[in-house]
């Protein structure tokens, strides 16, 4: 089944964090991007889960790439991804119960995240272990960076600060109720805030990429 690809480790890494950055260039993984970016902590947790699942699923798929039958490969990919997503979900429930509740169904929904099955098909099924693992890490890192950036804009405009824990709160814009001048935008916590911010980010990236080309 497998057609060996000639992707290098460097190409895999640069692809994940810039030229093929999942959300902004491939337009993959938009559902969790819009849903969980109400806070930086939630975005970071989702990103770390996706990195874990991408690395593990790419490793397993790459290891068995010579054994894959074309008509069964999607089933194997889905099975592999579902296992690691379930482990990530159980880990959060056991060790980060508050964050697990906050993210709700979006952790189990990583199973149907297009980025992961896309990398299994486009990279791991055609490349060696090292390239596949680096590709998984880089794609996950690119996804996490976008999530954290989008979440930081939304959280700051919605609350004036970034909350990492009850004792670690980074105040960027002092809200009126705390004696400052900033009136928080509640709409930034709603879907409209996510759509508008993501749209502006896409426009900025297209502008930069357009200028380069």
């Amino acid at each position: 089944m497998s057609k060996e690809n000639t992707m290098t480790v460097g190409q895999a890494f640069i692809g994940g964090v810039w030229t093929e950055i999942p959300v902004l260039r491939l337009m993959l993984g938009l559902c969790p991007t819009l849903a969980v970016t109400t806070s930086v902590k939630a975005g970071l947790t989702m990103g770390l889960c996706v990195i874990f699942v991408l690395i593990c699923s790419n490793f397993v798929v790459s290891s068995m790439r010579h054994l894959l039958k074309p008509h069964l490969r999607i089933m194997i990919f889905t099975l592999t991804i579902a296992v690691f997503v379930t482990i990530a979900d159980m880990y959060l429930k056991a060790f980060q119960p508050v964050m697990s509740e906050k993210l709700g169904p979006y952790i189990p929904l990583i199973i149907v995240n297009c980025i992961i099955i896309c990398r299994a098909e486009a990279c791991a099924a055609q490349n060696g272990l090292l390239v596949s693992v680096v590709d998984g890490f880089a794609m996950g890192l690119g996804f996490t960076i976008v999530l954290c950036f989008l979440a930081s804009i939304r959280e700051v405009l919605a609350t004036g600060c970034i909350t990492f824990s009850p004792t670690l709160v980074l105040t960027i814009l002092k809200p009126v109720e705390a004696g400052g001048w900033f009136t928080p935008w509640a709409s930034m916590l709603m879907p409209i805030g996510a759509f508008v911010t993501l749209g502006l980010m896409l426009a900025a990236v297209n502008q930069i990429a357009g200028k380069k080309s």
Partner: protein
């Protein structure tokens, strides 16, 4: 026979993977399940203790409570009795859920020992609209405060009124009438039937 051979030749990798991955999940579950269950118990106890401060422990009832769901089908409810330091009943706590505006709303509700007065509710899970419906989660906010001391009977929702007056009339959150109504409906669906069941089983006089 040749069909069977073909089946195994084509699908052996899927079968072997399924067995291996199933084993991996079973091991992970065995390792983390006790911790996950303890987290759930802790969360329930912490929320219930804020509503029933006198209760030190919450014990399950030996006889489960069964009430009708919104379609009239029987549904089991995990009602727990809060016990104070002397072992006397300090109140009752249970988890109830129903449809909200965006998703299911799950609440911990506490009632006094005689099941006559609500001591309040806390939100276990909800995905209501930020800035509007999610105000039901604000501890000691005006909406939650209306339930502390309200009678454990049928509640009604009103769009305007004095929210500081504690009675069976609940004043809605502005801009979140659906969520406010959902909480009232959830309590109405659980409180009275549970009270009836407890009375029938001899837990209440």
């Amino acid at each position: 026979m040749s069909n069977l051979k073909l089946f195994f030749r084509e699908s052996w990798l899927l079968l072997v993977s399924s067995v291996l991955f199933g084993g991996l999940l079973a091991l992970t579950d065995a390792a983390w399940r006790p911790r996950i269950q303890q987290n759930e118990i802790n969360k329930f106890s912490n929320l219930a203790r804020t509503l029933l401060p006198a209760a030190e422990t919450f014990e399950h009832l030996a006889d489960p409570i069964q009430i009708p769901d919104d379609k009239g089908r029987p549904m089991l409810v995990d009602v727990r009795r809060g016990l104070d330091a002397s072992g006397a009943c300090a109140g009752w706590a249970f988890v109830c859920e129903g449809s909200g505006f965006a998703d299911k709303i799950k609440l911990v509700v506490c009632v006094d020992a005689k099941f006559e007065i609500l001591t309040g509710f806390q939100v276990l899970a909800s995905n209501e609209t930020p800035g509007f419906g999610d105000k039901i989660t604000i501890q000691n906010g005006f909406y939650q405060a209306q339930y502390k001391g309200a009678p454990a009977e049928r509640l009604t929702l009103h769009k305007a009124g004095d929210s500081k007056l504690i009675d069976s009339e609940i004043i809605a959150i502005t801009g979140a009438t659906v969520t406010s109504q959902a909480v009232v409906d959830i309590l109405n669906a659980y409180v009275t039937p549970i009270k009836e069941q407890l009375r029938q089983k001899g837990f209440l006089q």
